[in-house]
């Protein structure tokens, strides 16, 4: 039976880039344990030789003609940005202080 601890939930939230408060961790961790418990049965259903399905209708090599076509203008692409500078997305620093 799978088990998921509060520490594991905190680690997963970290991987998913979500700050969770202590109260949220207290609330979510037990719920996730219950959900995981209910889906654990799946691990014994399919035999080794069953191929996986990633997509309901198998399509491969869907190409379009290699021709120029209009896209968004810079103004359109930037229209929803939280911050803009010189026709670019302005973002918080991406390197450490020493960088």
């Amino acid at each position: 039976m799978p088990d998921i601890t509060r520490e594991e939930v905190a680690h997963l939230a970290d991987l998913a880039r979500i700050d969770l408060s202590d109260a949220e961790l207290d609330h979510l961790a037990p719920q996730l344990a219950v959900i995981l418990d209910s889906i654990a049965s799946i691990s014994e259903v399919a035999a080794e030789d069953v191929p996986p399905t990633s997509h309901p209708l198998p399509l491969t090599n869907v190409f379009r003609e290699d021709v120029h076509r209009p896209g968004l203008t810079a103004e359109q692409a930037l229209s929803g940005a939280p911050a803009v500078e010189e026709q670019r997305f302005a973002v918080p620093r991406i390197l450490g202080e020493e960088g």
Binding site: A16, D19, P56, L57, F89
Partner: protein
């Protein structure tokens, strides 16, 4: 003309074609109805009166010039807030996209505009379509027009409630695990999930790419077919779009409405009836099947043993896909940006964490964490890999069943609408609402929900689900229309005539 909000889209199209009414008149009538009842129902997150009336005027000019853009030119529509609408906010029911105005149209939306349908506004939904009750919307729940203290289903509760409350004759929904069909069932309306790839996903904000499918939300089967033909078909902007023509859906709906089902083989799915289904839901289902038999159809019981694992499979595949899809909400290019408290010169990563904590609700966080877990090394094979294998088995069960039957039948949802608040913090209880609808998403097959009556114990609507093989969407329209006609004859009029008159209640 008599109250245009009570008429079907097909009737409105005829009234427009004959010059009996104008699109401006119809659009105004629906905007008035929204103003009168949406304070109680809360089907809409955004109403675009100005845009809708401008589109209506343009439609009237085309009709006057004798050049309508489509059969439905001038018939207004509501669009679920998960589809990008240029110039009109698109929030997906989430704080993280509050006020975001897309710079482009989804293909479905572009086709609606090309066909001349005025867009009344954007409808409420569970945040990023995660939920079965619309209670997970960051902007408050939608209320079921049959009983305002109850849920309208989800995630597309806004679209279903909008047509059930006569605020729109047509709406667009999206169905990842039942989000068109289950709201249809609990609001006494019609919802169709097309074959995966049958309607473009371009501009549809992805929840789970391999499961998501947009489709019609209406009050009649014929209206759904008319709308499906407008929005469906191949789109080069979606690489998963099926590159072949749609079947003749309107024709299939008309054929079904003749009420003759001689030679049609109906399969009742053993695993999707009985235990776990509310007595009144099961009873209305059994009666609907008997009506279809009376119209000449044969019934066989089919077994799809893997369906009992479909829910677990879905709750591994969906969170896995959702957790990677929702990584795009990173506070950098669009949407909310929140700076963490008490941090000087925070890094992009710290801003991302703070934004995603504030911007996402509980259910979204639960599923992102679950998906991150399912995709983690060490668990991948045991969970996600296994789920993909079970998905193959679900597809095989369908293939075997469709050797014995032309369509498969089940109740759409296991219960009628429950009370708002009843299951909102009990994820497992909430997930069970999609028990009967999920297998179709896993296999990519089309399905419809049509009203099957009111449950004796609570007087609330129940739904009949019809599933067909992939690309045979015409069959769900034929059988759906036959069931609709036979049930209407039995009831002596549309089920929605028995719903409360909301305008009177709020006045």
């Amino acid at each position: 003309m008599s109250d245009p909000t009570r008429r079907t889209a097909a009737e409105l199209a005829d009234a427009l074609a004959s010059g009996e009414t104008s699109s401006v008149e119809l659009t105004r009538a629906h905007l008035d109805r929204i103003a009168a009842v949406d304070g109680d129902v809360h089907a809409f997150l955004q109403v675009d009166a100005e845009g809708a009336l401008a589109a209506a005027r343009a439609s009237d000019e085309r009709r006057a010039a004798g050049t309508p853009a489509s059969v439905l030119d001038g018939v207004p529509i509501a669009v679920k807030d998960v589809l990008a609408t240029e110039g009109l906010p698109t929030t997906c029911g989430s704080r993280i996209l509050e006020g975001w105005v897309p710079p482009y149209d989804a293909t479905v939306v572009a086709r609606l505009r090309q066909a001349g349908l005025p867009i009344l506004g954007k409808t409420n939904m569970d945040e990023f379509a995660m939920g079965s009750s619309t209670e997970h919307s960051a902007y408050g729940p939608t209320h079921n027009p049959w009983d305002l203290s109850r849920i309208p289903g989800g995630s597309g509760g806004g679209s279903a409630a909008a047509v059930a409350a006569f605020e729109a004759p047509l709406a667009i929904g999206t169905d990842t695990g039942g989000s068109i069909r289950q709201p249809g069932a609990v609001t006494g309306t019609v919802g169709v999930k097309p074959t995966y790839g049958g309607v473009s996903r371009y501009g549809l904000v992805s929840l789970a790419n391999s499961l998501d499918q947009a489709g019609p939300v209406t009050r009649t089967v014929l209206d759904a077919a008319l709308l499906h033909e407008v929005v469906g078909g191949h789109d080069p902007l979606d690489s998963t779009s099926i590159d072949q023509p749609l079947p003749a859906l309107v024709e299939a709906a008309r054929q079904g409405a003749s009420g003759d089902l001689s030679g049609v083989r109906l399969g009742v799915v053993k695993e999707l009836t009985g235990e776990g289904y509310q007595a009144g839901v099961q009873q209305r289902f059994d009666e609907a099947v008997q009506l279809l038999v009376g119209a000449g159809a044969e019934v066989v019981e089919v077994s799809c043993p893997t369906f009992v694992h479909a829910l677990a499979t879905y709750y591994l595949i969906l969170p896995a896909e959702a957790s990677s899809n929702l990584a795009r909400f990173d506070a950098m290019r669009y949407g909310l940006r929140v700076y963490p408290d008490g941090v000087d010169a925070p890094s992009a990563e710290e801003v991302m964490r703070a934004t995603r904590d504030v911007g996402f609700g509980d259910e979204v966080k639960r599923r992102i964490i679950l998906g991150t877990y399912a995709l983690s090394s060490g668990y991948y094979d045991a969970y996600y890999g296994q789920a993909q294998k079970v998905r193959t088995l679900v597809g095989r069960d369908f293939a075997t069943a469709f050797e014995k039957a032309d369509v498969l039948l089940s109740p759409t949802a296991p219960t009628t609408a429950f009370k708002i608040g009843e299951k909102v913090d009990d994820p497992l209880a909430m997930y069970l609402n999609d028990l009967a609808t999920i297998p179709a998403n896993l296999a990519g097959v089309p399905g419809i929900s049509v009203p099957s009556g009111l449950a004796d114990e609570d007087g609330l609507p129940t739904g009949l689900q019809v599933l067909a093989p992939a690309t045979a969407d015409d069959r769900v329209y034929r059988i759906g229309a036959a069931a609709e006609r036979l049930l209407l004859e039995k009831w002596g009029g549309p089920l929605l005539d028995r719903a409360p008159d909301l305008a009177g209640a709020s006045a």
